[in-house]
Each structure stands twice: as C-alpha cells, then as structure tokens.
Amino acid sequence: MSVVVSPFREPLVRGGKTYHQITEDLCAATERAPSLAWVLAFIAAGSALAFGLFCIVWTIWVGIGSWNLNRTIGWGWDITNFVWWIGIGHAGTLISAILLLFRQKWRTGVNRAAEAMTIFAVICAALFPGIHVGRIWVVYFFFPYPNTRGPLWPNFNSPLLWDLFAISTYFSVSLLFWYTGLVPDFATVRDRAKGFRKKLYNFLSFGWTGSAKHWQRWEALSLVLAGISTPLVLSVHTIVSFDFATSVIPGWHTTIFPPYFVAGAIFSGFAMVQTLMLMTRKVLKLEDYITVNHIESMNKVILLTGTIVGVAYLTELFIAWYSGYVYEQFAFFNRALGPYWWSYFGMMACNVISPQLFWIKKFRRSIYWTFLMSIFVNIGMWFERFVIIATTLARDYLPSSWSLYSPTWVEIGIFIGTLGIFFTCYLIFVRLAPVVAIAEVKHILKAAGDQYVDKNNAYAREAALHPPVQHETAGHH
C-alpha cells in the first residue's frame, strides 16, 4: 500500500482508498436496487409506523382517556418517550458542531448519519407534545401571534413554551446543518446519475458546481451553523429539563437537572449512533469508513457521559439525604425501593454500571460488546426518563393521592410508531443520500499526493480492470 501510515495514529479511513473508490463506495447504496434485508426492514418499519399512526388517530379520536394516565400521573409514556427521543437527537449536532469546532476529524465517518438520526429523532420527539394534549385542535394557542383575543399571549413563564421554541429552533438549525453538508454529496450522486434520478439530485443539490466559491461559502456556512448549533446542543436538553426542574414536585425540583440532562442526552445519542452505525457499516460494508477507531472514540464519549450521569444520580441521592427535606428524601427512596424499583434498578444497571466496561480497551473495541452496550444504554435512558416522570409523580406530597400507572396498548403503540417513523426515515435516508459524507471524508484522506506516486502502475492495473470513469466534479478542489 502506498498510503502514508502515521507511526502514532491509525488512519481514519482504512483500506487505502482512492478518491474514486470513496465515491464508488459511498454512492453505491443509493444506486443499486434495495437488498432483501432493506426491503424486509422497510416493511417492518413501515408497519410499525402505520400502527403508530393508527394509535395516534385513536388517541385524538377517543381522547387521552385511551391512555392509562390518571389524576395523579398526568404524564407517562408520552413525555418519557418525548424526552428519550430528544435525548437521542443530541448526538448528531454534537458530532457535527462541537467536534467540528474541536477539529476532531474522526467525526466525518459518522456525522452524516448521526445528523440524520438527530433530525428523525427530533421529529419523533416533537410528535409527543403535540398529541399528548387534551385538545389538539387548539394547540395553536401555544404560538405567540397577534390575535383578536385581547391579544392574549401565551405564558412566557411556562417551560412548556420554552420547549416549543427550543425544539423548533434546534430542529431548524439541525436540518439546515444536515442539508448543507448534503449539498456537495448530492451533486456527486447527480453527476453519476441518469434520467429521473439526475433530475432529482439536480434539484436537491441546488446547482452545486464545485467551484471554489461554492466550496468557500459552503465551508463558511458550515462553520457558522456549527457555531449556532453548539449552544443549542446544551440549551435544548437544558430547557427540556426545565419542564421538571422548575416544578415543585420533589424529584423534579432539582438544580442539577440541566447538566445532568445534557450529559444524559449525549450519552443516549451516542448509544443510538452506535446502534445504527454498527448495523449500517455491516449492511453497507462501510467498515473502512466507520472503523473500530470511530467506535472506540464514541465508546469513550459514552463512558465519559455515562459516568457523568452516574455522578448525577449519586449527587441526587446525596442531596436528597443532605437536604433533610422529607419529601425529597422520600422521592428518591421511593425511586429506588418503591413500587417501580425495577425501573430504577434497570436505569442504574444500564446507564452507570454497564458502561464502566468501557474502561477496558478490549470491550471498547469489540463490535459485539459495543452493540450490546448501546442497546443497554438505550433501554437504560428510557428507564431514566420513566423513573423521573412516572415514578416521581406516582408518589409525591399527599399519600392519599398516590397512584400507579401502566400503559395501555395505545400508548405502547404510539411508542412503537415512533420507532417506525425513525427507522422508516433512516431506511429512506440510506437509499437516498450517502450515509457517510463523501466530501468530508475526502478531506481527511491523508493520501493526497501519495496516491499518484505509483500512479502509472496503479492506473494501468485499474484501467485494465475497470472501464474509464467519469470525471468527478465534487471530489476535487
């Protein structure tokens, strides 16, 4: 191999790829007919989506009474799922924005998919605040617009309103960021396409020509968006945590929530990225782009954030004890030992204990362990939100009103539906756009000149094996 190999660092892209090979590898998924596995997965995801839609219509038609929430527990699976999805939607922007600003080049292997995941997760999340209300037909009351009722404005003191702004901002910026990154890659696909696909990608790529001016503006925009996104990564889950932190309910009324929620969000986001990337790299044969090094890096983030979350859990317990405030003390006592002890147990085991395995390099670099752990973390973080929401509400101040809660098929169905939405979108995404950012990966290829040192020989061999290839527009600059 003619690739320069650093004595200190392993290359970010393995396999001695040429620019051309990268293009070939990464565009391939959008160009060939879907595999049987994809079709089966799509049918499964689509069915889940359809069932979820049915459950949503059922909820709106019948009323929230089709859920098992009650006079004590006003939020259950709905808001648990909302926070869970929002958390998952954090990795993408973190990877794209913060890691971009910190010049973590390894991010290029996974940022595209992670950003896509973010968008889809936020869509799933945003669904819940909408459908969990009693009267969805007046949900526009949330929006601050001049009206003939006074005008009557929404309550700017309410964290739910902050949520609305935080999530819509986050969604728009994430979408912009994601799409901006996609434009040169869409152009690459366009240049290789024919017929309808060419028209489609021509439209999607906004007339990208690959001119230096385009690249310059593209880079500037990416940086600006990264700058805007960075505080959003911190703010969105902070504001989501305010839904709880600004309340008076023991177990919710906690100043630790913002950092704890953000760490948890990154934790769960990375776990979901792992889950998806491990499957994607296997199915799309992207092992050279999403390497074990990537996986290890992300595992390190998981270990770090998991430990932060663990510290937060312990801090909560300590502060509850230290506060001397009986309601707070009981709230945490009850989380751990009360009727929902299993959810607390699950949360602790999945989020705090199991990621500690990643101190050991062998596990960090093991595909199987990583996959297993990512599933654990996904489950654990769902439990965390359930613990915070349902368990806390179930037993608060007045023992007379204590209650219990288990979901109905409708609530479960909606959750399955959001999984369906998420995976349907993701499956469409892998067929429509390159899952790894072609342009960005090419940036980090260390082999710029070296590829051509042996080029004659190499070219001759290549030429003998392959027909001439078209000139690539997108890859050179």
Binding site: V62, I64, R71, I249
Partner: protein
C-alpha cells in the same frame, strides 16, 4: 290636488303631480309581462328546475335540523326571574330519616338541596343522601304512570282504569295491610285513618330495614313509652357508643353530628375541653373512625360488653349486678376504665347502643339511669319519631300472608321487603298468595315488581306533605316542580280507593287542602300557614308527657345475647351513602366514596389487615384488595369482593348492606352484593351480625377495583419482627424491594413528618401548639428567603377569599363532596373510570389511619383546590388557562385550556381533574363517551331528563380540559350582585360555598379574610391552624385547624 294624493306623497314632484314624474314612476312600477319573456321555458329549464326542487326537497327531508324550542313565558310568573334562583322550604323524608331542606330551583327546575337553617334539628346541615335527593327526581328509571301487571310484563294504564280495578278487587271487607317503613307524616297517618273508615280491617305494618325496634321495645319496658328519646350528644362529656354509628347512619345522624361537633370543637388552647368518645365495635364505622378510643369486640359480644359495662358501673354505684356473658379480656379491662369515666361524668355522659336486642337495650337504659343521664343527655319527654318500625310486625305479616289471612297489601314509600327482609324469599312466596298487591313506589323495585298494580307516588320534590321528626316539631314538604310524570300523591290514592269524603275532590289541589286543613285544625292554633310554609318548620305545643317513671325490671330475667365460639363472625352494616339500598340508583351516591373504605360503586367485604413484621400489610386469608371471595353464612353463599380494612378486629368480617339490588335502574342494578340474607333473627328482631360457616375462599380478582385512595395510612405502628422495635409499619411497607435486606424498615418518618395532617392529643395540646407555631415560623422564615418580589400587599387589598376547615369538627360524612358534585356539575364517571383513578370530584375527603396497626385512629381531611397565592399550576400553564384573580382565586379558563396536564402534575395537592373522556357528552365525537355501566350505551347525564339537574351557572366541561374547585365562584358572583343591588357592602355570610352549606357540623367556613369582622378572618388566627405543605411556599387560601383527639393513654383497647 291634495285629495288626489290622499296625504301620501314622495317629494315635491309627486305632491305637485308633475306629469313627467308620474309617467316615470308608472314606467318603473309597471309590470311588463312581454318584457320578462313570459314563462317561456324549455326542456332543459324544466329539468334544471325539477332537479333543483327534488334535490332540495330530498335534502330538506333527510337532514333533520334539530329544533330546540325555547319558549318564553306569555305571562311571566311574579316569582320567577330567569337567572335568579328561588328557594322553597321543604323536608327530606326517607322512611324515618329526616332533614329540613331548602330546594333551590332555577327557571322552575329543582337543581340543588340546601339545609334549612331554621330547622332546630339539623340547623341547616345536610347529609350526602339529602344532597343527592335532587338527582333522584330526574331518575330515568322513575315510573311514568300507573301500571298494571299483564301476563308477562308491566302494562301502562290510566288512573281511572287502575282505580276501577282496585275498587273491584278490594271490597270494603278486605283485610288490607299497609306496608311501610317508618311514617313520619301526621297527615299521612290521618289519610290512613280515613282509609280505614272504608276498610276497617286495615292494619299498618311499619318496619325499618335497619331496625331500631329494640330501643322502642326497651323504652316501653323501662319507661312505659314506646319511643326513641331525644339524645343530646353535645351535653355529654363521655360518650360511649356500642355498635351505634350515630354519626353515620343511626337514627338521626345529621342532628347527632351537629351535637357531637359542638362537644369536639376547640377554640381556646388553654383549658381546652372536649368530649371523650368511646366506640365499642368490630368494624370501622364512621363513628368509630371519629372516636378517641375504639374498643374492639366481636359482634356477638355486644350483649356481653353491655352487661360488663353495666356490672362495672353497678358494682361501683351499689346497684344490682346481672349475669354477664364472657367477654374478651382486653375489651373488659378497657370497659372497666370506661365505667370509671362514665361515673366521673355522671349526668353528663351518654351510653347508646345499636343493639337490636330488647333486653340489651333495657340494660343500656339502666346504665344511663344509674349515671343520671336520663333527663340530661337523654330526653324521654321529647320523643323522636324517626324510628317507629318493628320488624316483628313484618314477621307476623309474612305468616299472615302465608296463611291466607291477607287480602290486599299496599306498599308505600321505599318499603322493599322483597329485597331488604332477611328472609326475602319467604316474603316473596307469602306475598304471592295475597290477592291484591299494590305498590306506590315511584321507581320499580324488587317488591313493586311482585305486585299487581303500581300506583306511583310523586317524587318528594313534587309532593305536598309533612313530617314530625320529633314531638312538637313539624316540618312541611312542598312541591318545587309540577309532577314530571303521570304520578299521584300516595295519600290521594289511598283516599281515592277509600272514596273518602274527608277530602275536597273538586279542589285543584285536593291533598294540599287536606294537609292544610289538618294543620289548621290540629297544629297551627291560629299561627300563619304561610309563615309555616315559608319557614318549612313549625313548632307546636305538644301535650306534656307525664315525667317518665322507670318501671322496675327484673334484671336477672334479661336475655342477653351470648358470644359465639365461631372462628369468624361478620357484621352487616349500613353505609352513609346507600342506606338500606333505596339509594342504589343514585349515581352521585354510588360514586361518592365510602368515608371509611373510600371505595365506590359496590360493597366490599372488610377483612382485617395485619403487618407481617417486615414490610407488608397482609389481609386475613391472604386476601388482597379486590379479591373476590365466596362467603358462606348459614345456607347462603354469596360472592363478594373484599378489601383490607384497618381497624377490623381479627376474627371478624364486615359487609355493607344496601348493595346488590336486582330490580332498579341501570346505575344501581347488580352493583355489589346483597347481604341482607346474612342477617339473622332473634325473637323476631333482625340481628345485624352472624357467624361465618367457613373461611372465605378466594375466587377471582376484581377487574375494576374502584377505590379512590390506595394508600391509607400516615403512621400506623407495629413491632418490627427482627429488632422488636415499634416502628411505623406503613413506612416499612413503602418498600417493594429490599435490595437483599438492606432497607427493611423503610424510611422511618417518610409519612409522619409530612406537614399534611397535624394532630395531637388533648393532654399534650399546649406543647403541640408551641411546636406547631415554631415549625410554622420556621417555614415562614424560609419562605421569605426568595428571589422574587413580594406581592403580599396585593393580597391585602379588596376581597381575598379564604376557607377555614376545622378537622375536629369534620366527621368525614361526605355531604360536602356530594354537594360539590351537585353544585358544580361534576361528572359521574362510573366504576371502570374510577378504577383507573379518573374520578372527577373537585372535593375529596382524604382519610388516614394512624396509631396502632390493629386498632388505629382516623383523621379525615376535606381537600379541594387550595387557591394558592403562589400557585404552582399557574406559572407552568403554557397558555395562561389557569391564573389568579385579584380576589385571590385560582381561576380555570376552560376555553383556553389545551390540556397539557402540566398544572395537574405540578399541583402538590393533586386536586386538579382532567376530562380524560367526554364524561358530559359536551363534545362532537360519540366514541369517547364512556358508558356509566357496562352494557349501557350512553354515559351518565346525557339524557335530557338527567341533564335537568345541571346548574345553569356552571359550565359543563368538554373532554380534554382540566377542571377543579372554583371556590363556587358563581356563588361569589351572586353574593356580590345581591349586595350591589341592595346598595351595601358585601357582608360576611353573603357568600357561602356549597360544601360549607352542606356540612352538618359547621366544619367549613368561607369568607373574605380581608374583612376583619368576618368569621373566617377570626378563625384564621387560631393557634391550632396549619396549612397543608406550608413549606412548599404555595401560600394556600385554605387553612386547616389541627385534629385533636381526647385519648386517655392509660386505656388499651
């Protein structure tokens, strides 16, 4: 010129008959058929027009536009102003139960019952049953006209037809029996005596399903008077009640609650006095839950307990002893101390017993006599007529009917022996042998269903009538609405069949005239009839009774019931809401939680609950809440759901009567199980306990266990098995997983240290108050440490509505909760929805047990929206749907509510209620209206008849919005308008909330706290006051007064 114009002209030119103008005008107004083209039409036009006509006709015919007629009065009645309520004084009479009431009507519809404050018995108090009366008027199950039994079913008839057929079947020689519960009405009795003029072989058989016959018989034996005396619980310093639930159901609970509360309220801390109440019983009754001490006995030990108490007193006072059956040692030692206290409070004590054994009641009389209570706390000279029934008459009637000795039976009021007679089958068999069986019930019940004729009586609110609950106290019943259906006053039916000439049949209102003339002749003695009618109550000078001279009784000959050796005994009792089952079809009462079990829609077998010494409460026989059991008593086996009941004596069970109706409306049918068959008879008197043949056998699980409170305790104590320490067992029981033995005793203090309930014993009152004050000062100090600006000055201006609730006066009876449902159109949601904790009640009465796990004390706490000045609900609502007004009221704007439920989550008091489904049919979608009862296709309150009960001043909420207590904002508005109209300032008492007026004990006070002369302002300064969760800094507008009990810790019961 002028003539031509005939005085009408337009402008000058017309006036002057200008030629050009006339021509022009003619041209304009002329019809020119030739220019319109005539009516020429072709085939296409024809088809077009026909198509349109047919189309519109089809549309018009098929789309039925609902026509809602709102007809104005042609001539408005003087008394009726739309939007202004009228109140009519009347009486609540249900068998022997009595309450003076005011009926609130709006636009001619009775919509609410208020207590009549002029009534000396109840003083304006009510009960849950009284509050629910108005709903039974609009019962869809009411019989709509006379009915005659056909071959297989009931056939509608006319009154003429019915009267004719009755006349044919009932010749003057007939042996007629009038079967009733206690008859309180003197005029009804007069009507019956007039009936007897034609039918001389008539006898009245009065019985009460929950009988007090033994008291009548005992007083006849002791004093020669077959009466119930007047009791004065307010004058007793020591009250001993043996199985008499005088606060809940016994004889006159509203009156007794009122008296009782007088002796329990504490205003001054220093030198505070209150009565001491011992309740001797096996199950947790409402009275027992209010008692300072409960002494637990098995139901069959009732006689032994009375005899023991008698002997203990007799020994010390030198009276003769009786042979006492054996009594459990614990109860005996407690009772001997009770005897000491009774003797110490001679003349100011009161012993009552619910026993239905004549000789035991004689012994109770004897106890009171020795204690000198007869004449002080027991007034034999003012007899109460509230229980007159004697079931021995019913036993005789059954025998007579069986022997063919009866030709006709007329069943009046709620009498329903086919359901509530212990040997109901025997009754039914004998009843079938009677030739003519007439029911006057307004609704179809088990007994009416066995009759040949139903001559439905008016509803109470449609009737004229009277009642004499106590000698010398008369109370009028006047109609508040014209009869809704083709019904007839029961007395009129009797007089009609008797073709009586004591009544003016030509009058428009013959029974009114009959009633009035009876009053004028016998009672009014020159007083104004109109005033009596206005006041609702009238006192007349009853002939003085000679002072009761005790009859000498041979005490040795008394037959006291003997305790059994059975492993299990069962108590059968009446509940506050259901009575003897006559209220089964009243959804408000079905959905009203039982004050003690907190269950709704059914009766549950109460089984004792024990602490396992580790972290679990275990029901006897390993029964969990909601387990169904097969229970055998004698030859009868029934299947009933069970519930773990604190305070239930080990080895005993209890089951409520009044459930399991088989013939009634949809709401009440097959709700719970009928336990009347479990009652036994001794000497013809019904005994409300029995021995259980074999242990209950678990059969299945209740799917919809409808209990509104599932955590019941706040510090019940028992011994930890490992350490031998006394711990708060309920706190240990909050642990579901011990983490392999790490957290066994739970978090000790997690329940008792909450500032939800404040309670103390009278003996430690002063130290309690100083602790309370210190703690409150600490809370207030902490609450002042805030970053937020202080808005206190805003709350010192204008009206600030405030509520004060005295936990010592509250007996937990639940009248307020039903009054709230009635006043505020709170939906009834049915059993399944309640089982999902979807109950909609704005006001609930929380009940907590504390103290000894086997025999705890109880505290009740009415809880409604606290109208916090720092309301957590308000700042989290994203759309400002809930906010604070300038008078300190937390308002709920239904129209603005989106339904995020964030406010409900953030409410520390959990008083906000969400409309999960369309409980009131206020929505477009029919699918989300839950059926009240399985199998019914529509929810409660969706038919036009039931909807008449809705309060037009209160919005009916659609699904998807939050609702909660509004402090009866409509009443505040009404009070303000009335003051404004009268041109004066709002005064204390102008505004009273529904819960306040319903309360029989005056536990709730409402008013403007900024008004220094208001009673709420004065009460708010009591040192015993506390606020629930004060440290959360919500600044509630509801203040509670601590619960103080008067326990003698030296007594172990």
């Amino acid at each position: 010129m002028k003539d031509k114009n005939a005085g009408i002209w337009i402008g000058n030119r017309d006036l002057n008959q200008d030629e050009a103008y006339i021509h022009q005008a003619d041209e304009q107004s002329r019809i020119r058929p030739d220019e319109t083209g005539g009516l020429q039409s072709n085939r296409r036009d024809f088809l077009r027009i026909m198509g349109f006509s047919v189309g519109t006709a089809a549309l018009a015919a098929s789309c039925k536009t609902p026509v809602r007629r709102a007809l104005p009065y042609l001539t408005k009645p003087d008394s009726l102003v739309p939007g202004i309520a009228n109140y009519y004084a009347s009486s609540y009479v249900d068998g022997g139960d009595y309450c003076g009431i005011l009926v609130k009507t709006r636009e001619g519809r009775p919509i609410k019952i208020e207590g009549n404050s002029l009534c000396p018995l109840t003083g304006g108090g009510t009960s849950a049953r009284v509050q629910a009366l108005v709903l039974s008027l609009y019962d869809t199950h009411r019989i709509q006209g006379p009915m005659v039994r056909g071959e297989n079913n009931w056939e509608s008839s006319s009154w003429e037809n019915l009267d004719e057929r009755v006349a044919l079947r009932m010749p003057a020689t007939s042996r007629v029996r009038i079967l009733s519960n206690t008859i309180l009405s003197p005029t009804t009795k007069k009507a019956i005596s007039d009936f007897k003029v034609k039918f001389p072989n008539t006898e009245v058989v009065s019985y009460d399903p929950i009988s007090s016959a033994a008291i009548l018989m005992a007083n006849e034996a002791s004093f020669g008077r077959k009466i119930i005396p007047s009791y004065h619980f307010d004058q007793a310093r020591t009250i001993v009640s043996i199985n008499a639930d005088f606060l809940g159901t016994w004889i006159s609970p509203i009156e007794f609650s009122r008296q009782y509360a007088k002796g329990r309220k504490i205003s001054e801390v220093s030198g505070a006095k209150m009565s001491r109440h011992f309740q001797v019983e096996s199950y947790m009754s409402l009275s027992g839950s209010n008692a300072d001490h409960r002494i637990q006995i098995r139901p069959s030990e009732q006689g032994a307990a009375i005899a023991f108490l008698y002997n203990a007193i007799a020994v010390k006072t030198g009276a003769a002893s009786v042979v006492s059956p054996p009594l459990a040692e614990k109860a005996a030692s407690a009772l001997s101390k009770v005897a000491d206290q009774l003797i110490a409070d001679k003349g100011a004590s009161l012993v009552v017993a619910g026993s239905n054994n004549r000789d035991e009641q004689i012994l109770v009389n004897k106890i009171n006599e020795i204690l000198g209570n007869t004449g002080t706390t027991i007034d034999l000279n003012t007899p109460s007529y509230q229980r007159q029934g004697n079931e021995t008459d019913l036993v005789k009637l059954v025998a007579d009917m069986d022997g063919g000795q009866v030709d006709a039976v007329i069943v009046i009021d709620h009498a329903n022996p086919a359901y509530d007679y212990p040997a109901a089958d025997a009754f039914a068999t004998a009843f079938a042998k009677v030739n003519t069986r007439i029911s006057m019930s307004g609704t179809l019940n088990e007994t009416a269903n066995l009759c040949n004729f139903i001559a439905p009586n008016h509803h109470l609110l449609e009737s004229w009538g009277d009642a004499e609950p106590k000698q010398g106290l008369l109370s009028l019943i006047q109609p508040a609405i014209s009869p809704l259906f083709n019904t007839r006053q029961a007395e009129l039916s009797l007089l009609k069949w008797a073709t009586s000439d004591h009544i003016d049949w030509k009058s428009d209102a013959p029974y009114y005239e009959y009633l009035k003339s009876n009053w004028v002749q016998n009672y009014l003695n020159g007083s104004s009839w109109d005033k009596a009618l206005h006041d609702g109550v009238f006192k007349y000078q009853a002939p003085d009774l000679a002072s009761a001279a005790p009859v000498v009784i041979d005490l040795a000959a008394l037959k006291i019931s003997q305790p059994t050796n059975a492993e299990q005994e069962i108590t059968l009792f009446e509940t506050v809401n259901m009575g003897a089952g006559q209220h089964a079809n009243n959804p408000w009462l079905q959905e009203m939680p039982d004050p003690v079990t907190r269950c709704v829609w059914g009766n549950y077998l109460a089984v004792p609950v024990m602490f396992d010494g580790v972290n679990k409460f275990k029901g006897a026989f390993d029964l969990e809440n909601g387990d169904f059991v097969n229970l055998s008593v004698g030859n009868t086996t029934i299947e009933t759901a069970s519930i773990q009941q604190f305070g239930q004596l080990s080895g005993t069970l209890a089951l409520a009567l009044g459930y399991g109706r088989t013939v009634t409306g949809a709401a009440g049918k097959h709700i719970g199980t009928n336990a009347f068959a479990f009652c036994q008879q001794a000497d013809g008197l019904t005994q409300y306990y029995n021995t259980v043949g074999s242990s209950p056998v678990k059969s299945r699980k209740e799917e919809n266990l409808a209990c509104v409170q599932y955590h019941h305790t706040m510090g019940v104590q028992d011994i930890d098995r490992k350490t031998g320490q006394k711990i708060n067992a309920d706190e240990a029981a909050t642990v579901f997983f011990t983490y392999f033995g790490l957290a066994k005793q739970g978090f000790q203090g997690s329940l008792v240290e909450r500032s939800v309930i404040r309670r103390a014993n009278l003996s430690e009152l002063e130290s309690f108050v100083s602790e309370l004050q210190a703690e409150r000062a600490e809370f207030q100090h902490l609450n002042e440490q805030t970053l937020y600006p202080d808005y206190s000055d805003l709350y010192e201006r204008g009206h600030q509505w405030h509520m004060h609730i005295d936990l010592n006066a509250c007996t937990g009876c639940g009248a307020c909760a039903v009054a709230c449902m009635a006043e505020n159109n709170v939906p009834v949601v049915g059993k399944r929805e309640v089982s999902r904790h979807h109950e909609m009640t704005w006001l609930r009465v929380d009940r907590y047990y504390y103290g000894d796990v086997a025999n705890p004390n109880v505290v009740f706490q009415p809880l409604m929206c606290q109208h916090c000045h720092n309301a957590p609900c308000e700042n989290v609502c994203p759309v400002n749907a809930t906010n604070h007004n300038s008078e300190g009221i937390n308002q709920m704007v239904y129209n603005r509510c989106v339904g995020t439920r964030y406010c409900a989550n953030n409410c520390p008091y959990k008083v906000r209620r969400f409309n999960w489904l369309d409980y009131m049919k206020a929505d477009l979608w029919p699918i989300n209206e839950p059926a009240l009862v399985e199998g019914e296709d529509s929810p409660f309150m969706t038919d036009n008849l039931t909807r008449m009960v809705l309060n037009p001043d209160v919005t009916v909420r659609a699904r998807g919005v939050i609702e909660k207590c509004s402090f009866c904002t409509q009443r505040i508005q009404e009070g303000k308008l009335n003051a404004k109209k009268a041109g004066r300032m709002l005064e204390d008492g102008d505004v009273k909330t529904a819960c306040q007026t319903a309360c029989p004990t005056g536990a709730i006070t409402f008013g403007d706290i900024n008004h220094t002369a208001s009673s709420v302002h004065q009460l708010a300064n009591n040192p015993l006051n506390f606020q629930v969760l004060e440290e959360v800094n919500t600044r509630p507008a509801v203040t509670y007064k601590s619960r103080i009990i008067n326990r003698d810790e030296s007594i172990e019961a």
